[in-house]
């Protein structure tokens, strides 16, 4: 396509496949006059936010924030600025996780299958999403390791993932119960068998972990390395969170039971019948990431899906986030899920948290993203109006102080709205060029 060629040419010319540090923003940027929804506090009319070096340095009322002398000031009067959205469950990127060989495959890493050029990632930023947990599917009891991505729009998956204190990529593990993983051999045929297979695997992981512990660094005592069990040991240690597909009320209870038995940290995903067991979920102190689709059904476990789940869980004291499950719902319509929850009784404040900080916390990223606070990553979006209105548009998406989506730029508008070429692979944004120039 026309644009792609330009991108390639420019990229080659500038030789700009650079790494992190070089991409950091040089001068501070101040946005003034906007209504800020910081999530960490009440909305601020006529607010100012200052970002520098990829971080937020100041947030507050215009009168209370000192804009640095060298700052570039952007007038955002009439717009809403809020944190970039966090999607706890997405399948963007042409994913391919576990295969048909077995129902439990913790060795598979989703990031080995992702294509950063997939146009889905452009729709993600067009929807205002800046942090996304990309997961393998739900056709397995355990379909692999997930990856937490920051929508930096860089050229390799390594440059787009979150890393922990040791520089390792961050992600969880995807599990599922209910009807999706009940299939022909070698998959389980019943719910009882599903749980038994999972328990047996975690017991194996416990034994593997204990053997490693007993070896105490002596290579002769170490068990043969098993990369699948390695991942499950992280789950048992609580450093890798289980993201668990579950719909029906009894399936939800089964997840809670297994989580208690093996002590793994879990986020319940979908939770279509969560409204039936809200108290039990609250008592277990387990967070829920939910999805709202337009009608119930399509499979037996989703027949009792209702729009009210978010509100019911919220009132029961459960921490709630939303997810797109993209392609089940399009990333560009993420606000819509939250709005439907508000329509059915969830509080606006709760729904905004469920799009941002709650999701971040469910990915162990709550100290880095999900709210507008000094010290946090400068991930934020500019909206044309009320987040819960169908007529509102995401105007700009910024990640670590850099604009990765601008609706006024034709190619970005193409991805926001659709049109010829919108579904083709895209060269993502890279350093060193102004993408607006490429579209003249």
């Amino acid at each position: 396509m026309r644009h792609s060629n330009l991108y390639l040419a420019t990229a080659a010319l500038l030789g700009c496949f650079s790494t992190g540090a070089a991409l950091a923003q040089d001068a501070p940027i101040a946005f003034t006059g906007a209504t800020l929804i910081p999530i960490a506090g009440d909305p601020i009319e006529n607010g100012t936010i200052v970002v520098h070096g990829g971080k937020i340095v100041a947030v507050g009322a215009g009168s209370a924030v000192t804009i640095p002398a060298d700052a570039q000031t952007i007038n955002a009067t009439g717009k809403i600025i809020m944190p970039g959205l966090v999607d706890t469950h997405s399948h963007v990127g042409g994913f391919g996780g576990a295969d048909g060989s077995a129902p439990i495959q913790p060795d598979v890493r989703i990031y080995d299958s992702l294509n950063v050029h997939n146009s889905g990632f452009r729709r993600v930023v067009a929807g205002g999403l800046t942090t996304v947990n990309i997961m393998p599917g739900s056709g397995h009891l355990l379909s692999g390791q997930t990856i937490y991505l920051k929508m930096r729009g860089r050229n390799t998956i390594e440059e787009n993932w979150y890393t922990d204190a040791d520089g390792e990529p961050m992600g969880g593990i995807k599990m599922a119960n209910g009807t999706n993983s009940i299939r022909n051999k070698p998959f389980p045929g019943t719910r009882g068998k599903s749980a038994a297979l999972v328990r047996a695997k975690y017991i194996k992981a416990q034994e593997y972990r204990d053997k490693i512990k007993r070896a105490d660094g002596n290579p002769d005592e170490m068990p043969d390395r098993d990369i699948g069990l390695d991942a499950l040991v992280e789950v048992l240690a609580g450093t890798r969170i289980v993201h668990h597909h579950t719909h029906r009320h009894d399936d939800i209870m089964t997840v809670l039971r297994l989580s208690e038995e093996f002590g793994f940290r879990v986020v319940l995903h979908h939770v279509s019948e969560g409204w039936k067991v809200a108290k039990e979920i609250a008592d277990a102190d387990v967070p829920c990431s939910i999805i709202l689709v337009d009608s119930p059904g399509g499979k037996l476990e989703a027949v009792n899906l209702l729009y009210k789940t978010g509100g019911v869980l919220e009132r029961a004291g459960v921490k709630v986030a939303f997810h797109t499950d993209d392609w089940i719902t399009d990333s560009r319509l993420f606000f819509r899920s939250a709005a439907l929850a508000v329509r059915a009784g969830m509080s606006r404040e709760g729904a905004l948290k469920a799009l941002t900080i709650h999701g971040a916390e469910m990915l162990d990223l709550g100290d880095r993203v999900g709210s507008l606070e000094p010290g946090k990553d400068a991930d934020f979006i500019l909206l044309s109006g009320d987040p819960f209105s169908v007529y509102t548009k995401v105007l700009e998406t910024w990640v670590e102080g850099r604009k990765v989506f601008d609706r006024s730029v034709p190619i970005d508008e193409l991805h926001a709205v659709g049109g010829f070429g919108a579904g083709d692979d895209q060269i993502p944004y890279m350093c060193c060029y102004d993408h607006a120039e490429l579209n003249q």
């Binding site: 119930p296 989703a302 027949v303 508000v342 209105s389 169908v390 010829f420 919108a422």
Partner: protein, 422 residues
Amino acid sequence: MRTYTMNHTTRRDSAMKILLTLLSALGCAGMLTDGAIAQVAIRGKTILTMSGPPIANGVVVIEAGKITAIGPADTTRIPNGLRVLDANVVTPGLIDAHSTVGLSGIYNQKHDQDQLEHSTPMQPELRALDAYNAHEALIDWVRSFGVTTVHTGHAPGELISGQTFIVKTSGNTVDDALVKDFATVAATLSTSALRKGKGKTPGTRGKLVALLRAELIKAQEYLRKQENAKEDKPPSRKLKLEALGRVLNKEVPLMVTAHKAQDIANALRVAREFDIRLILDGAAEGYLLLDQIKAAGIPVIVHPAMKRAYGELKNMTYENAAKLRHAGIRIASQSGYESYVPKTRVVLFEAAIAAANGLSINEALATITIDAARILGIDHRVGALEVGKDGDVALYDGDPFEYTTHCIGTVIEGKVVSDKVR
């Protein structure tokens, strides 16, 4: 915690009883199922009539299933005995111009999936009438958002998947619900109608069109034979060709699901060759062929705005409806067919996305009311709030297209068929 503005005020008096007796005597009892009287007045702060400008503080009066009066509240008398409903915004009952509800059930199990028969690629003889489950849960679901009429039936996915028909979203049996028993023959010109593998046909786009043309030619010959037959020696009936004969006679349009521009062009070519009425369905790349569609005078039932942008729809745009409409093409919105989750879309929500992407609120509302009725040939009965038309009304507590607005009541032929607030 939420408050809704629909108040049920009943002004029952003896006049109602008299009317009930009268109607029963006249054999109209079928209209009065559930013991409800088909008489209601709806007061709206805004009434979007779709037959003229909006009415502020208006009233719609429905008696014996039909609209008998509509106008400003101060000049429109509400007869005694009518149940009175209130709403912020009142619209005609919504029309879903293309759906599969009633055939494609909520459970998505073999026993409730009657929308596609795969035994052979062309089966125009399959009647929607024989497959429709009037008690299907998803009918109740769409009704609760204000949908009162659906064009439903056999789904896209085979070259000729069968017939479609039009029903109201109420009724105990398909006969109760029926508006039009044969609305279109549904055809698909896209890769979704192809069969892969050795010996399988149709396996290519070219073959799709060849098979369709050959079948239409067969139907032309069948019609000729029927015409020329001696009265005492009628030729044997062939259901398949009879159905296509009605397409050739222009009694019934051919509804062709096509998304890519090349497939849309194929549909236009076949319609020209056989001089048949065509309705384009889906038309994700319709925006590339505005001149051609306009010149052919073909209406388009646009794909659901929120359809997934993959495969043949990878070039789809939220603005397709606006581009078609603003080129002068008559369009309607649809919920379409969904094979997984959600099992049905809600046409109101699809029109809302079109309203947020280039259509005015009035234009978007027309795609689910009057223009849908015109495309389906039922505008003499539904699609606008006018005296003499069916008493089908949707009540909302705000802008119908806003995510957070509720449908607070749905009325079909004067009867409240839903007051579920979702």
